[in-house]
């Protein structure tokens, strides 16, 4: 295997320690979170040049804390740990996380971390799309100290994020959800245990009179270089009363926002056609969680 070049295995006991190790080893070092994505790369021959592994599991980044009514997730929180929280299990606001966290099989859920998943900047992943619909932001730590940025600004291109060299992701922050919110996530895949051909995360927040006050519509999978926020759909939803007709209209609008690719797994045409269907279904799923009547 091409990772046979790995010679050193470091176990930093803090995030700061990890940053120091990255500074020391530069391009020879790679961060190890859950390891599932990393092994995926290595087993496909994409690991040459890596000589130092920096294992983050003891760096104090495994926690799920309540933060101002929202959640502060340490980067090393596993999918399983996040899925097991009261918030994700019970709150319709976090429905998109409940849905997306249960897509991969147990073996992945037990290993994969929220930080590793986000930092891979792989547009075919599911959980980051759900995070985006929940207005997540990320905290990082680098030689210049800590900083925070909205997750929307984090993804730049295929496998490219806006962290600087030597910075590590330390937290994923989810703000307190607006009142009367629900979210949902659906994924189109060929078989289970697949990367998304496309996926959709949706968040609806209603005002007191039952109109949609705010919405988030995010698509991932093969619809762009990074997950895409479907602003046209959101504009159509906002201020309106949720209904099947509204959702159908919003779904039709999604074409304007996505640039589906054609690859050996599906054509752009197919992705475009099914994006509408999946968006509609995800909106209905979120609406169901709101407990409202959908005419």
């Amino acid at each position: 295997m091409s990772i046979s070049g790995v010679k050193e295995f470091c176990r930093p006991q803090s995030a700061g320690n990890a940053v120091e190790l990255l500074a020391k080893h530069g391009n020879r070092a790679v961060l190890l979170a859950g390891g599932t994505f990393l092994h995926g790369l290595f087993s496909r021959g994409l690991g040459s040049g890596v000589e130092v592994l920096v294992d983050l599991q003891h760096a104090g980044l495994s926690y799920v804390n309540e933060a101002h009514g929202g959640l502060a997730l340490g980067a090393m929180t596993t999918f399983r740990e996040l899925a097991a929280t009261e918030q994700v299990q019970k709150m319709p606001e976090f429905g998109a996380l409940l849905d997306s966290l249960h897509c991969p099989p147990a073996q992945i859920r037990n290993q994969a971390t929220v930080g590793g998943c986000v930092a891979s900047a792989y547009t075919l992943f599911d959980v980051p799309v759900a995070f985006l619909a929940l207005d997540a932001s990320v905290k990082s730590l680098g030689p210049q100290g800590p900083r925070e940025m909205p997750l929307e600004k984090f993804f730049v291109d295929y496998f490219e994020h806006s962290l600087k060299k030597g910075e590590i992701l330390t937290d994923v922050l989810l703000p307190k959800p607006a009142a009367r919110s629900a979210s949902a996530f659906l994924k189109l895949e060929t078989n289970s245990n697949d990367l998304a051909l496309l996926n959709v995360a949706v968040r609806l927040s209603l005002d007191k009179s039952g109109l949609c006050q705010e919405s988030r519509v995010v698509l991932g999978g093969g619809v762009g270089k990074t997950p895409v926020r479907a602003l046209s759909c959101e504009a159509l939803l906002n201020g309106q009363r949720p209904s099947r007709a509204l959702f159908e209209n919003a779904a039709q609008k999604v074409s304007a926002d996505i640039h589906p690719v054609s690859d050996h797994r599906a054509s752009g045409q197919y992705r475009r056609a099914v994006a509408k269907v999946y968006l509609r279904r995800t909106l209905l799923r979120a609406a169901e969680r709101l407990g409202i009547e959908i005419a």
């Binding site: 046979s4 197919y270 056609a273």
Partner: protein, 779 residues
């Protein structure tokens, strides 16, 4: 027939305990002292001349013990297919162990043996190969066009073989038809996906004798092919039977590059050499050949066939390997023979391309044919408003007829009609709705497909082995050793053969021990393939048991003072027929035979008759007397999401004309597993390649989509039609392959019933369905 105590019962797998506690018997576990690790260096080019191989840097790497290039291998062209002798006229010998012209991306050009696998891998990276890339062609039709790259000198237009067969008067047949249907069907390349990788260990001695352990479906084939390719006598090769292997499905039915390379590395280093395929290597090692089948069919308005013609194009990839035989099985058992029609023509072409080579895979050409034939029949019935069940019955063979392939055999038991009836009832065929009539956006449909004719082994086929042998040895504790070359690849061969022996001998199945076997010590058995083990090897073990029983009775007759013809064995007790009180344990009989001639007793010495002495064995080596045809029908119910094209299979009913079920639970397992493979073939599996470089795009389980537990239907019902085949052990015919031949057309037909969409090329993806429903936006 007397009551059967063991055959016909769902006896527990004899190797299950071992497998649930770790699984010792796989070749992948084997480690020998001093063992080296071999790796193959593979060409990145799909077609190229190898100009120079510079191994000097690699040779200097500490831990590297030997390197091979084409210059180091015997220049003996061979074919790797186990079930056919090397010199067989119908096979094409176009392979070299390491070649100087590579013809598919991944063909090995060099090999290394080192003390650790990582060192061997590193050494591969240090080997410099200068290639002269040549133009490549990746589809069979283009390969036959003028101007296409010529892959071999011996095959003009890249055609390996082009057989055709005519029966009757096709022209007249079409004139007599009321309707003529012309359609073309295409199937894709898929991989067997055995879970234990291909792996071997070869050891050698200073006299050049080789011992090979390999995850293989045929130890005698491996021995013969290895000896032939190395240019050494077969007595210098001993192939050891694996206790069991982690799946084969036909994908381990030929010698790979790994075995002869490991052998040469072992001879060079004087140490055992192990080579294990990575999963990537397995994906590019063997596949089911893709086919294009052009069919023209004439029918009367009542559905009687008047004329059938087909042209089948098989892409065999860079080497002929199985391509010749797959083509013929496809042509005969897939197209010409299953139904009656006085006027038929079939033309087949096996074509070289620069794709990966084809191997064996359950069904062996028939799934491709069945997809075409059974889909077209469905299309005909739909167009002419005919009952598809009646259509099959109208054109099917009838019990008692001579076997359409070889009139020396008869269809002595043939129950297609019963299978159709049982399956139809189980699925609720009478409640099937007209095409597209299911309400809602998720539409349900029911469809079926048949495999009206199949084989129980290869008796009667040119250039294909079909004989088995078994050695039984009775032990003084009442257990029985069964030494047989048959490989258990997961279907339960060990268990079924044990059941047959146990039933014949009158002992519990737990008394049977399937023991060590290798090519030096046991008789030849043809491979575990062609749905043959229960019928063919089963007959041999039964005969061996009968032979042992005869000897038991000879010895016991003296002990019980009665003629041997009066004896029987019931529950390990040798007794006068019908009188258990007048009997002795089998163990005591064996002890008598094995004990000293003279026994010391209190008042002197006791002598037993000399004729009773000697180990009690039963040996039988024989060919089966027939090749009885099973038949099978599968009904499926699907649900098609008309908004996304996604297909779910809800229910399956499979009826099989089996002769006699030896182990019902095991037989169900064959149906259920076959459906996983068939579902994948129908809907999602596709071994795809880059159209310009030939690189494999689906060489891992992320990109090669195989059904998981979630995709499988919750209901699969197996229905057995038993008819007591007189030439089979306890009445059995075969089972294995039809389970994978019928699912794809059954699913395709069910999809048509659900949504009125006919897809004629596999896999039937959601995208193809949505496109056919007109729901894709213009590009």
């Amino acid at each position: 027939m007397s009551k059967l105590n063991i055959v016909g019962h769902s006896v527990l797998r004899t190797d299950a305990y071992d497998k649930v506690t770790g699984g010792k018997g796989y070749t992948v576990n084997l480690r020998l002292p001093g063992m080296l690790h071999g790796k193959l260096l593979r060409s990145p080019h799909p077609h190229a001349r190898v100009l120079r191989v510079d191994t000097s840097l690699a040779a200097k790497l500490p831990g590297v013990k030997a390197i091979l290039t084409a210059a180091d291998v015997p220049q003996i062209k061979y074919h790797p297919v186990y079930f056919s002798p090397s010199e067989a006229a119908s096979m094409v010998r176009d392979m070299l162990i390491l070649a100087t012209t590579v013809r598919f991306a991944g063909e090995p050009v060099a090999a290394v043996a080192a003390t650790r696998p990582e060192i061997a891998e590193e050494a591969l990276e240090l080997i410099r190969v200068d290639y002269e890339p040549l133009p490549a062609v990746f589809d069979a039709t283009s390969a036959m066009q003028p101007g296409s790259p010529q892959i071999y000198e011996h095959a003009p237009k890249n055609i390996v073989m082009n057989p055709s067969f005519n029966f009757g008067d096709l022209q007249k047949g079409f004139e007599e038809a009321d309707y003529v249907f012309e359609n073309t069907y295409r199937t894709q390349r898929v991989h067997t996906c055995y879970m234990e990788p291909r792996v071997c260990v070869v050891d050698s001695d200073t006299s050049g004798n080789l011992t090979i352990w390999s995850s293989t479906q045929h130890i005698f084939g491996l021995r013969e092919k290895l000896a032939f390719a190395l240019g050494i006598p077969i007595s210098k090769v001993r192939a050891v039977k694996p206790e069991y292997i982690g799946g084969g499905f036909g994908g381990k039915l030929d010698m790979g590059f790994l075995e002869p390379v490991a052998a040469l590395l072992s001879l060079k280093t004087g140490r055992p050499v192990r080579i294990e395929h990575s999963r990537y290597e397995d994906f590019i090692t063997t596949a089911r050949n893709p086919f294009e089948v052009q069919m023209k069919t004439g029918v009367k308005k009542d559905g009687t066939f008047t004329a059938r013609s087909a042209k089948s194009i098989l892409d065999t990839g860079a080497h002929a390997t199985h391509g010749a035989v797959v083509l013929m099985v496809h042509g005969f058992f897939g197209f010409l023979l299953p139904y009656r029609c006085p006027n038929q023509t079939w033309e087949g072409m096996t074509v070289y391309t620069n794709n990966i080579i084809g191997g064996g895979f359950r069904g062996y050409g028939a799934p491709q044919a069945a997809f075409a034939v059974e889909s077209q029949i469905d299309e005909i019935c739909d167009k002419l408003k005919l009952d598809p069940i009646e259509f099959r019955l109208k054109n099917a063979h009838v019990q008692g007829e001579p076997h359409p392939f070889d009139p020396n055999f008869t269809l002595s038991t043939y129950r297609l009609a019963d299978c159709l009836e049982k399956g139809a009832k189980q699925i609720g065929w009478s409640k099937r709705l007209p095409v597209g009539a299911s309400p809602g956006t998720k539409k349900r449909g029911i469809g079926f497909a048949c495999q009206p004719l199949w084989v129980s082994g290869c008796m009667g086929f040119p250039d294909i082995y079909e004989h088995s042998g078994a050695i039984l040895k009775l032990n003084v504790d009442g257990t029985v050793n069964l030494a047989i070359a048959t490989v258990d690849m997961g279907c339960g061969q060990n268990t079924v053969l044990s059941q047959i022996v146990a039933e014949e001998l009158g002992v519990p199945v737990t008394a049977i021990r399937v023991t060590h076997a290798d090519t030096d010590t046991v008789p030849f058995d043809a491979p575990s393939h062609a749905s043959r083990v229960t019928y063919s090897a089963g007959n041999a073990v039964k005969a061996a048991a009968a032979s042992a029983k005869k000897r038991v009775f000879q010895v016991a007759s003296g002990m019980l003072n009665t003629a041997p013809e009066n004896l029987e064995i019931v529950d390990s007790r040798v007794q006068v027929m019908g009188t258990p009180a007048n009997g002795i344990s089998l163990a005591d009989v064996v002890k008598r035979a094995e004990s000293p001639y003279v026994k010391m007793v209190p008042d002197g010495m006791e002598r037993s008759p000399i004729e009773e002495k000697g180990t009690i064995m039963g040996i039988a080596c024989l060919a089966p007397s027939s090749n009885p045809s099973p038949s099978a029908v599968q009904f499926v119910e699907v649900e098609v999401d008309t908004e996304t094209g996604e297909v779910k299979v809800l229910r399956v009913a499979y009826a099989h004309d089996i002769g006699k079920v030896i182990n019902p639970s095991g037989a169900e397992g064959q149906v259920e597993g076959g459906f996983q493979q068939g579902l994948g073939y129908a809907l999602m599996e596709n071994l795809t390649f880059d159209p310009s470089s030939g690189a494999c795009l689906a060489a891992d389980f992320l990109n090669y989509k195989m059904p998981t537990a979630v995709e499988m239907p919750p209901e699969i019902t197996s229905l057995w039609v038993e008819s007591d085949e007189p030439t089979g052990p306890f009445g059995a015919k075969s089972l294995a392959e039809p389970c994978l031949i019928v699912p794809a057309p059954a699913i395709a037909n069910a999809i048509y019933n659900a949504v009125g969409v006919r897809v004629r090329d596999l896999p039937i993806t959601p995208e193809k369905i949505l496109a056919a429903l007109g729901k894709l936006d213009p590009a």
